[in-house]
Amino acid sequence: MTLSDFLTLLPAIVLLAWGVIMLVVDLFLPTNRKGITPLLSGIGAAAGLGVNFALTGYSQTGFNGMVVLDGFASFTNTLLLISSLFAIMLSYDYMRRMNIERSECCALMLISTAGMMIMVQAYDLIVLFLALELFSIPLYVMSGLVRGKISSEEAALKYFLLGAFSSAFLLYGVAFLYGATMHTNLAGIVSAIQGGAVQTVFLMLGVALLLVGLAFKLAVVPFHSWAPDVYQGAPTPVTGWMSVSVKIAALAALLRVFVIAFPSVAAQISPVLGVLAALTMIVGNVLALVQTDIKRLLAYSSIASAGYLLMAFVPYGQGEVASDSIAAGLFYMIGYLFASFAAWAVVAAVEKEDGKGLQIADYAGLARRHPWLAVAMMIAMVSYIGVPPTLGFWGKFYLFRTALEGGLVWLALIGLLTSLFSAYYYLRVVVVMFMQPGETEARREVWVNLLAVVSAGATLLLAFIPWQLLDLASTAFLRFP
């Protein structure tokens, strides 16, 4: 192990170390001063972001080719770190209000983010598995943070059982991939496949199980059943953060592993991915229609987003299109991050101490009392639908373009129709906020309001420089062996 090995993982190491230190520092904090921990973890996440920016542009492997630092990892790490910063902003007041102000929340958030970053940087399937567990296990705890509240505990147990179930699939897939190729390292797998000495049955089985494991994390239909329950039961800041970060990490791992190691099985896998994407778009959008709870609505909306992301990923085996689908996926993630945090900040601001205020009907009259929050929510909804001028529009535009480039007209058509369909339930929220009379009270709390305005502003303003952002996403290259 040399210094450069550690350099490869430095952003994740900073976060891990900071998270552990925070747990120790917490012991010496008096109970009435716990509010300082979100500030400390915010500094930690910012430090990680700084280190990550300093390392952008590096391209190297570390720890005997177990992890890799490349443009793709730097880009995704940036998104993950911004997401964790936003989540800390979101939880600052919320945790105090809900009386769950315990510092392990923010420490676990940092540790889990480190796991996600290692997952993005993993170049070995075992590291991928370990990173997946490193970010999942804190998430199970954070879902159940509201002790004594049955919905939160139930969400945690459901997430735990199904999450472990999916990890078992992933691990079994890795075992079979090892059986097929004698390697767990992506570079080794590539050379084994190119050498032709692979057991095809084991290889296909391994790829399929790996796909199932990652699809669970990405909440792709039919592996989505945990998502609405967990999103509803978990504390709102955790839900918002989870819906963004887990999606980014799982998608990035899927992109990296499949684009690098398995282009050779694309002929068999692509049709399966196509069906999964179509199912996810249809089921996610249709079930979102009947929801009355805003958290469940956003949960189904995030499932639908996974479908759109998967759609662009279907033609990953066609050399030229693969780089486009990576760029389009990363670009969509930028828009998804800002729009989601705008929406979740409003949800957290409106939610009451006793857990009320989560129905869509509770948003009646929000526009009159809190015009800024209502506008932020509206921008988020419009961005989810994919209407210009928002980042969501450009995100969907590039995803559809990639699908068409790959010759998947039917899939793009399904995506377009379901997007039109989704306008109904997204706009219903806007109508309730702006047209219906009501007396909705929201928290006038600095950080949450700031987050809503900043995220919504970014969703709107960044939409005017889509080319520059897409260039950034396109230069987020994958390092090939």
Binding site: I126, F129, L130, E133, I137, Y140, V141, G144, R147, G148, I150, S151, E153, E154, A155, A156, L157, K158, F160, L161, A164, F165, S167, A168, F169, L171, Y172, V174, A175, F176, Y178, G179, M182, T184, P228, D229, Q232, G233, Q291, T292, D293, R296
Partner: protein
């Protein structure tokens, strides 16, 4: 000597039994045991392949998996104790607060 394929078949059987247990059993503890069985099926597969290829690396993997499984036990049992305190039961069918 027992051929390696026997171990592989045993691992598949264990994995399928575990998956069925997760899907069919209603007690969270039994579901959890089934999950552990799935992890151990993977371990068995790793060791079998390691013997087939005479490679050491896959045997090391098993230690990682055991560590992860232990961490999951700690979290899982804690969650179950917590939910048992409020509901007096760990029956999955009764976990129906969240739906819609």
């Amino acid at each position: 000597m027992v051929p390696a394929s026997y171990y592989l078949i045993l691992s598949v059987v264990l994995f399928v039994l575990g998956a069925l247990g997760v899907l069919l059993r209603r007690n969270a503890l039994v579901v959890f045991m089934s999950l552990e069985m799935m992890f151990n099926a993977s371990n068995l597969a790793f060791i079998t392949f390691a013997r087939m290829y005479n490679a050491l690396s896959a045997q090391v993997v098993v230690f990682f998996v055991m560590t992860v499984a232990a961490a999951e036990v700690a979290i899982g049992l804690a969650l179950m104790v917590e939910i048992f305190r409020s509901k007096r039961s760990v029956d999955i069918d009764q976990m129906n607060t969240l739906k819609g």
